[in-house]
């Protein structure tokens, strides 16, 4: 196998690995996000207690300690998001690479493309479509996660905190079809036996 086929097959394997990496980051990120919410909610409970008892002097150190912990967890989440940004950038590179292959194919075979498919049934357009679909889902999900990161530590209402957490865990912008698209890609390129 060489040329376009080789390149596309390698790219498909990269998609697989990037999705796995994303899943791992998502899991780790969820644990950190849950910590932040717990710290945040217990902090606002404490503040309420303080205001009720009118004794602002004593637990000041406890407050700064909790604030430092919160800061620490937020940094961890930021690191995870940074890694997610890298993953999505790599996904974008795959899309660019596919567009390059497409241009090359157009140049070699004209606008109608090859007469025989590279692998089983897909033409170039289908590869491009699936690459773009995957990339769009993840970049939208990344935007959502970046918003959550900015807001999570400043949210006082427990309902909204919970919405943030369920958004993080259930990834609304990565529908089930994404998994199917990847599997179809792996099947087509021969990574999965037919």
């Amino acid at each position: 196998m060489e040329g376009s086929a080789r390149k596309i097959k390698d790219n498909a394997a990269d998609w697989h690995n990037l999705l796995l990496r994303w899943e791992r980051l998502n899991e780790n990120g969820f644990n950190v996000a849950a910590n932040i919410v717990n710290l945040r909610l217990s902090q606002s409970d404490q503040r309420q207690l303080l205001e009720e008892s009118f004794s602002p002097s004593s637990p000041l150190s406890a407050r700064t300690g909790a604030a430092a912990e919160l800061q620490n967890e937020c940094c961890k989440l930021q690191e995870i998001i940074d890694k997610m940004v890298t993953v999505v950038t790599k996904m974008q590179n795959l899309v660019t690479s596919q567009q390059g292959i497409q241009d090359l194919e157009d140049f070699q075979f004209g606008p109608k493309g090859r007469t025989f498919p590279l692998f089983h049934t897909w033409n170039m357009k289908q590869f491009e479509l699936s690459f773009v679909t995957l990339w769009k889902s993840f970049s939208q999900e990344l935007k959502l996660k970046q918003t959550i990161l900015q807001e999570l530590a400043h949210t006082g209402t427990s309902d909204l905190c919970m919405v943030y957490l369920s958004c993080w865990l259930y990834q609304p912008f990565i529908p089930h079809q994404v998994r199917l698209t990847l599997e179809a890609l792996l099947l087509e390129t021969g990574h999965r036996p037919l």
């Binding site: 959502l144 918003t147 309902d159 919970m162 919405v163 369920s166 958004c167 259930y170 609304p172």
Partner: protein
């Protein structure tokens, strides 16, 4: 005549108690598997409720217009998965119940076939190690009724649950736990203790 009838009923009773013991274990472990599932059902209900209580358009999430629908869909998908797993557990409970019911009705039938030869004395006679046939049949029928009722109650609870009815889902874990009937479970364990010498005295 009566002696051989007693012996065959005793034999059937022994087998019954043996299978009751293993089925009791199976029942318990299956129920134990249900607890975490019930818990996550409650969690998912809580998350769905939090989503309904939140006006997304007045939060920083307003830039994601179709977020609410997508998240709601994902949550109901997750609820569906948990309900599916619970239904699988229910089929295991059902087969435990069926096994117990079949066994018990078998021994009761055997007893009824032999009522001519089994007089009151033979049925109520007992010793230090062997409870009377009447007692043992009663214990088995009590156990059978317990599992039958337990299964029906739990099945009925699950059948009321729908991904779109959050309040029912939310209260489900509590209602599930309230169905527990430790006294009935204890009396089955007690009965198994009382027959332990008898079962081993083959």
């Amino acid at each position: 005549m009566s002696k051989s009838a007693v012996a065959s009923v005793h034999q059937a009773l022994r087998k019954n108690f043996e299978s009751l013991e293993s089925n009791q274990k199976l029942w318990r472990s299956t129920l134990a598997d249900c607890s975490p599932l019930m818990e996550s059902l409650g969690n998912l209900a809580e998350q769905t409720k939090a989503l309904s209580n939140t006006q997304i358009s007045s939060t920083p999430l307003r830039d994601f217009p179709d977020l609410e629908d997508r998240l709601r869909f994902k949550l109901s998908l997750a609820i569906d998965t948990v309900l599916g797993k619970l239904n699988e557990k229910m089929s295991s409970l059902q087969s435990v119940r069926d096994a117990i019911s079949n066994q018990v009705s078998g021994v009761v039938q055997l007893y009824e076939q032999n009522t001519d030869t089994l007089d009151v004395v033979a049925v109520t006679e007992r010793s230090a190690t062997t409870p009377s046939i009447a007692d043992m049949l009663e214990w088995l029928q009590d156990a059978e009724r317990h599992y039958r009722q337990q299964f029906l109650r739990r099945k009925a609870l699950l059948q009321t649950l729908r991904p779109d009815n959050v309040s029912l889902l939310e209260s489900a874990p509590k209602r599930w736990t309230s169905l527990e009937s430790p006294s009935a479970e204890d009396s089955i364990t007690d009965a198994l203790w009382k027959v332990s010498f008898f079962v081993e005295s083959e």
